[in-house]
Symmetry: C2
Subunit: 197 residues, 2 copies
Amino acid sequence: MDIKYELAEFLIKSNAIRFGLFKLSSGKSSPYYLDLRIIPSFPSYFKFIVDALKEKLDKIKGDYLCAIPTSGLVYASALSYASSKPLVYVRKESKEYGTSKLIEGYLKPGSEIIIIDDVITSGRSIINTAEIIRRNGAVVNNVITIIDRLEGGRGALSKISINLFSLVTIKEIADILYDNNMIDEDIFTTINEQISS
Amino acid sequence: MDIKYELAEFLIKSNAIRFGLFKLSSGKSSPYYLDLRIIPSFPSYFKFIVDALKEKLDKIKGDYLCAIPTSGLVYASALSYASSKPLVYVRKESKEYGTSKLIEGYLKPGSEIIIIDDVITSGRSIINTAEIIRRNGAVVNNVITIIDRLEGGRGALSKISINLFSLVTIKEIADILYDNNMIDEDIFTTINEQISS
């Protein structure tokens, strides 16, 4: 199976890519929305993607995984189980009860961390996470995501010396969907206009 | 390996059980705190627990897993990968951007759901989750947790016709730790006083 074609087709079939007018977490608007949280409800697709992430991971230097909750954590946790790499995750905010900390799990000082997230847009939340990890004495050189929305994330990460690896870009998804008559020309144009907008 | 002994010993060694004065998410105070979020940082323990959950899961009727974020989701997601059972999770609050919903993932109407969480205390958050699932047209009869703190959770679940399965109870952990000189008598007494307090 070609991961890019499979993923593009599944996004449409499962309603994990939707068209309309959406507000992203950054506040920016978008003519499409990706909801990769739906994929773990389909075990064969979930396994397919986690195994594809593992194949990518096996080629990249690093001894720890760091997830970004919540959606990135679902993949990173299965990937940690599948790859036997230790996992930590970085909270958005410290919770008020119990113990208060930003990094959950045990982060061995000096470790090289690979950040795992489902989708990258501007890279803002990944950069926040990388900075927290670096302040806590570990190394970050690489990030793996499932989809790159091509809205500046790769360039922003590059400025802080981090490489981005993605299974597929939104441009590749749009091309596959358009070439196979799964989206019309209007939607195809709209997606392309969103790229690096 | 005996799961109960292994888990008790690891909780102490990794600092995942801590003694002092803690405020739980319910607002209740506790002389000990369980942080099972540290376990995925130790791949062999994480795999040990996920596989023990899978063994339990294989004996229970149900076709879907539902996780409670964030800490329960880390286990449920690896368990979903390991068992090929579809996963959904229930948010505490609906987020403001993108699409707004309480259940993330695709919940097939009429499915029988097994709720997965790391620790049960009073059962409050599990009951909230079960009620949301039932309102959305699915069935919940069973819950699996790693540790039962024995503070009323089993009884509260029973009132809404839900069975609780746990890998180990805090009573069993305290007995193992005390019998093997890993905690002193004061702490042993304090833990026992907290049970069903």
